[in-house]
Symmetry: C2
Subunit: 747 residues, 2 copies
């Protein structure tokens, strides 16, 4: 990946010839203009400054769905994103008779567009303002870590409250681990509707087998539409709402990409850890990841067992299974990259270099000399309680019943406070989200699954050594150290039976009825999960307190660590991903993935036929297979690639992305839509910790495959017209009678 070598200075960091972080970058939009010369050399036709204008073209068209990225592709608020970003909406709108996840969905007219489910949101970023001084300025050097934490926490809440007075959604995000803070304002669109998704056999073609893999043939797109009130302002769902009119939307490129082409991806990458200290990464590598892998495998085994004979249950936990599998593969890939790929060793070497660099200069030594030892000590300190804390988190996280009880109970404790004093996540601004969550929970909650997973989570808690017991849990469940396995099992069985027999938290209406109840009223329900939540609350609160103290210490130390790191690195450096809007660029490019194996940069329709088996993960719909056959027999399409002599399906590029980027628009040198980012290769996942330019590749679906499917398979001619205008007629002319008919009949 020969892009994005650091050239200039940003954020007050002095220039430096070659940095730690060269050849990578999920850049903040305002950093892009600094790279104008580099971009031009790579073939960029536009004005690099445009990227810094979040309300202009193309950035104004890029939106967040909260966890996924999407973009406007028509003046009527039509939005394109990944198929796997609308799984929830498809499930929400499915009935036993109409499985939208399996069969796909196409609204042929606006009236057929369906509510995308509770909590579905579109966030349009409208401004990003640096507020570092307001958040971390003027803190007394003698302040305790806890005072520092509380001050920063309050300042952030105050800024957010002020910012949100205008009706927009705001947050203050830390960049470079607390070195910088930016306030981000977003318009929050609350009426989001499902417009079109292909059948599972297209949208999830390859399934878990191909997930994180190449070659890939996934049609990972879907369409939503943003609706607002008649006044043009965000409003909850109403039949009277009208399509949102974005100022900017992306144009579909007429010409597709080819190997070597410059591409941009704009989106909301979630989280990377490239600037973590070696001791943090080491702890994750040696303890955290092996533990998560083990937990995921154990949960998968339980869920597999439970759902083997029960199709209805399988459907309910499909999302959880997918998440566990996805995470498992991801964690395995990271661990492989860190250990075998040598990223951990490189990280250690880099940190040694940093320490040598600090030690080499008395001024630097004075300024930064204490930081790394202090961070190491902090890490070592928190390692002491990690087993207990992680075990507690597994218990509270394993059960949806218990999770609901904990949320509702804590909400009842927080509500009486002044809003500024409420914990983040429990302020008034968070209440609708909490309600939506309790509503949405009904799709997946199941007592049998819940009981099995809670039982699984309790076993390690029961086995904790004497000094590290979770006492409230011991008391509630009748556990004590040194019990025999039989005694433990008996106690847990009895405990679980009492919990599930007496609880009504599996009922949506009951949960929603509790949202505004007082603590006393909650306790009066005598629901055993609520009583357990109350019993556990002091221990959980103590953990939160400890965590706040630790956060205060990090807030004191990490900005100086980052300052040293950036000063040593020099040049332009991208901050770690933090779910804020970023831009990355690279080239369409294959990769020598493994010894003896080359991943070509593009796949084609021919590969779908090669992979299709008619079952499991490789079950392309007959209407698509027929359309491919018609194409192979000479039927014309404007979406053929001249060099490939086939319709391109997916492609690889060197852009730097991570989870959260799903659904991000891929733009060509003219800023036009050429694809959707939807995955990375297995060999790339460790780049979250250390970017390896030689092996890292992102995976995109080619817009031409999407358009070909819309024309030839799904008959989505209404959407083609909306996006392409008169050009859509070219697609329309290529519409096969059988394809149109099948689409009409099937949906």
């Amino acid at each position: 990946m020969k892009i994005a070598r650091a050239l200039v200075v940003l954020l007050g960091v002095s220039p430096f010839a070659a940095g730690l972080f060269a050849d990578e970058g999920m850049w903040m939009p305002q950093q892009i203009p600094e790279m104008a010369a580099k971009l031009k050399a790579l073939g960029f036709k536009g004005d690099a400054k445009a990227f810094a204008d979040l309300t202009g073209q193309p950035m104004g068209a890029v939106v967040s769905l909260g966890g996924c990225t999407a973009s406007f592709v028509s003046p009527d608020g039509l939005i394109v994103t990944n198929h796997h970003c609308v799984t929830g909406g498809l499930q929400f709108n499915s009935t036993p008779k109409r499985n939208l996840l399996k069969d796909g969905y196409l609204a042929k007219v606006r009236d057929e567009e369906l509510p995308n489910g509770p909590g579905s949101r579109v966030f349009v970023t409208t401004s990003v303002t640096e507020v570092t001084a307001a958040i971390t300025g003027n803190i007394d050097a003698k302040a305790t870590d806890r005072q520092r934490y509380d001050l920063i926490d309050r300042r952030i809440k105050e800024r957010v409250a002020l910012c949100e007075k205008g009706g927009q959604r705001c947050n203050v995000a830390s960049f470079f681990d607390g070195l910088k803070y930016f306030e981000i304002a977003q318009m929050e669109i609350k009426d989001v509707r499902l417009v079109y998704a292909p059948a599972e056999g297209i949208g999830v073609f390859g399934g878990e087998t191909d997930n994180w893999r190449w070659p890939r043939h996934t049609g990972d797109w879907s369409f939503l539409r943003a609706y607002v009130g008649k006044d043009g302002k965000p409003a909850v769902f109403s039949k009277d709402n009208v399509p949102f009119k974005p100022k900017h939307w992306l144009k579909i490129a007429k010409e597709g990409i080819k190997p070597g082409d410059l591409v941009f991806v704009a989106g909301y990458p979630g989280r990377t850890q490239r600037h973590q200290t070696y001791s943090q990464v080491k702890e994750t590598t040696e303890w955290g990841m092996p533990r998560s892998i083990r937990l995921a495998q154990e949960q998968l085994a339980i869920l597999d067992q439970l759902t083997k004979q029960d199709k209805a249950l399988a459907l309910k936990v499909a999302g959880r299974l997918q998440g566990l599998n996805n995470g498992l593969t991801n964690q395995k890939g990271m661990l492989e990259g860190l250990v075998k790929g040598g990223s951990l060793a490189k990280k250690q070497a880099q940190e040694k270099e940093l320490e040598a660099w600090i030690a080499a200069d008395p001024v630097r030594q004075k300024k930064y000399g204490d930081v790394l030892p202090a961070l190491r000590a902090l890490q070592a300190e928190s390692d002491k309680t990690r087993e207990q804390n992680a075990t507690m988190a597994t218990v509270t996280g394993s059960s949806s019943y218990f999770g609901a009880a904990l949320t509702l109970y804590r909400l009842s404790l927080q509500r009486p406070k002044a809003d500024i004093d409420r914990d983040a996540g429990f302020q008034e601004r968070d209440w609708p989200r909490i309600r939506d969550g309790q509503d949405r929970l009904q799709r997946t909650i199941d007592a049998t699954v819940d009981k099995a997973l809670l039982r699984w989570a309790l076993a390690p808690a029961a086995a904790l050594p004497a000094g590290q017991r979770i006492l409230a849990l011991d008391q509630a469940a009748g556990l004590r150290p040194g019990m025999s396995k039989a005694e433990t099992d008996q106690a847990i069985d009895a405990f679980l039976q009492g919990l599930f027999e007496g609880s009504k938290l599996g009922d949506r209406d009951f949960r929603l009825s509790l949202i505004e109840k007082s603590t006393a009223d909650l306790l009066a329900t005598k629901d055993p999960f609520l009583l357990l939540a109350a019993a556990m609350e002091p221990a959980l609160e103590a953990n939160r307190e400890a965590s706040k103290n630790r956060s205060g210490a990090y807030a004191r130390l990490t900005p100086r660590y980052m300052e040293a790191l950036l000063a040593k690195a020099g040049g332009l450096v991208a901050p770690d991903a933090n779910s804020t809007l970023r831009v990355t660029y690279g080239q369409v490019k294959g990769v020598d993935a493994k010894d003896g194996l080359y991943y070509k940069p593009q796949t084609t329709l021919a590969g779908i036929v090669q992979k299709h088996t008619g079952e499991g993960d490789f079950d392309a719909p007959q209407v698509q297979l027929d359309a491919i056959k018609a194409f192979q027999s000479g039927k014309k399409t404007p979406y053929i690639d001249a060099a490939l002599k086939d319709v391109p399906v997916n492609f690889l590029s060197t852009v730097d992305t991570t989870g959260g980027n799903s659904g991000s628009p891929t733009l060509n040198a003219k800023g036009e839509l050429v694809g959707l980012l939807f995955d990375g290769t297995y060999e790339s996942v460790a780049s979250n910790y250390l970017f390896e330019p030689v092996t890292t590749r992102s995976i995109h679906v080619d817009t031409r495959y999407m358009l070909w499917n819309m024309a030839e398979v799904d008959g989505a001619i209404n959407l083609l017209r909306e996006m392409l205008g008169s050009e859509a007629d070219i697609s329309a002319r290529s519409l096969a009678p059988q394809a149109g008919a099948a689409a009409g009949a099937g949906r």
Copy 2:
């Protein structure tokens, strides 16, 4: 694969511009000189006529192990072949304390060379003589099919008997499905010793996971030595025997191969079906292969279940498991190629063309017009009893106890006859092989496994419809049509209990004691499996009779079918593989294996480290990992490839090979050894039915990897000296102290 386009005429077939079988060929050695011009253009330096001289260089160095190929590599009878061709010998020489399969073996001096186990043979082909006229000449056109079969059978036996009078091993093989016959004489060396095999973590690196796959990193070599009596003639094992002195042995190439290089493979490919009729291939595709796949899967499930908790048993059935897995993958690949890859459809199109070509000319119509309809009718006729016959074959083939009983019982029936009247396989010349087989059986026979597999095989026999019952089996097992599942299970249980409780056939000495017993004596043992064999014999004999009649019909028809096929194809055509010596040539070349995926032509040491997990199929020995580390840290070796900057491990080529070719020497344009053929890619296996030049690739181990391992990992400097002479000192100098020490200590 742009090699071997048909240019000239062989076997009386007239020339033709472009043939059916262009770009492929497991050529008979005598066909090679006809390709001299083509070979020269591809870079061949030698005299193509040399290949036709089976007692010259290099062909005189190529030998058969019966099922595998090998070659002499020193004047002292040192032989190199694949590791997977000596699995039996390694198992035979292992003890509970010394697992040679796992740890490998190296005889540092001749005295340490171990007998390779009963039945281990080296066959050196000394002459190939066409005998078509003697076998099929002068057969009365009015002869019945059975008369035709008997005549050909007797003529073959007579020729073989005459040929073997000189003490050599002979057989008469059919080429082009009975159109031609050749008599092949071979020296049979009976004292074969195990010299060197690397550890399993090298020789079987990748295991079942990588089997038939690329990229590959398997060190699939091992060394044997041929011993003869002091008079230089073949003799059974004796301490006084001396190493065999071959007239010719292969020289190790100084320079390794590179992409694009011409390579030859000489060996004994087992069986291909490229000249079968469409109806035969269709039957195999639609019935035979799906059935074998199902049977293999069912047996694997049973064996997996049985061996899950029993390591000793797992070791015993390792070979069977490997065979089943290997066959399963192979059959799946073939089926995929035939159905999805379109080979069956192409086969049909080719046959239609052939019929049109016959119909287009009255002379041809008269000569061949009846052949294809007649062959189709024969196929349809045998389809009627296929279910019964296949079920019977599964029953007789599932149990080693039953198999031994059937062999011994039939031998007792055949022995009293004149040798010429005995069935093929039961003549005097076959007796030592039968004895060795009963001896060798002891390594794998197990009552638990046997019982489970026989139970599995009996279920379908119990379920056959009324008209197709195996009556002798029904009577013996107390089965009848229409029994309930419970009744059937009960009957089979009782039957199995009686069989296994009363049988001593699990005992080696008992089996060997029966070899020369009369039928009456066998029955007098009252061994229940022998009694069952006697009860089943009439049904089995009836099947053999039917098969002889069918063979007579094929002997009448297929030569004319082949004649038509060859006449239409024109040019030089290679006959289907039939376990006789062949030569194939091609280029070192990667392949676009799948949409979006390119298999590079070579792999390297780096890939071993990439794949190594320390468990299961990817467990490279530490001494090898250390040697790779030393190499990567700058340690010199003469076996580095300048372009790859690494030691090459495996490579792909376009040569045309199949099962039986395993261990075949791969030669460069100068006829020097550059590798060993050991596998084909998954995408290639359907080429047994229809050769697909675009996707077919063979897999070789690079000689340089073997030599590097011998020098750096296994310390096999004695063998390097024997093969390389003074050049071995270059390897010797590169020997690492730790590698030498570890090899010495470990072995």
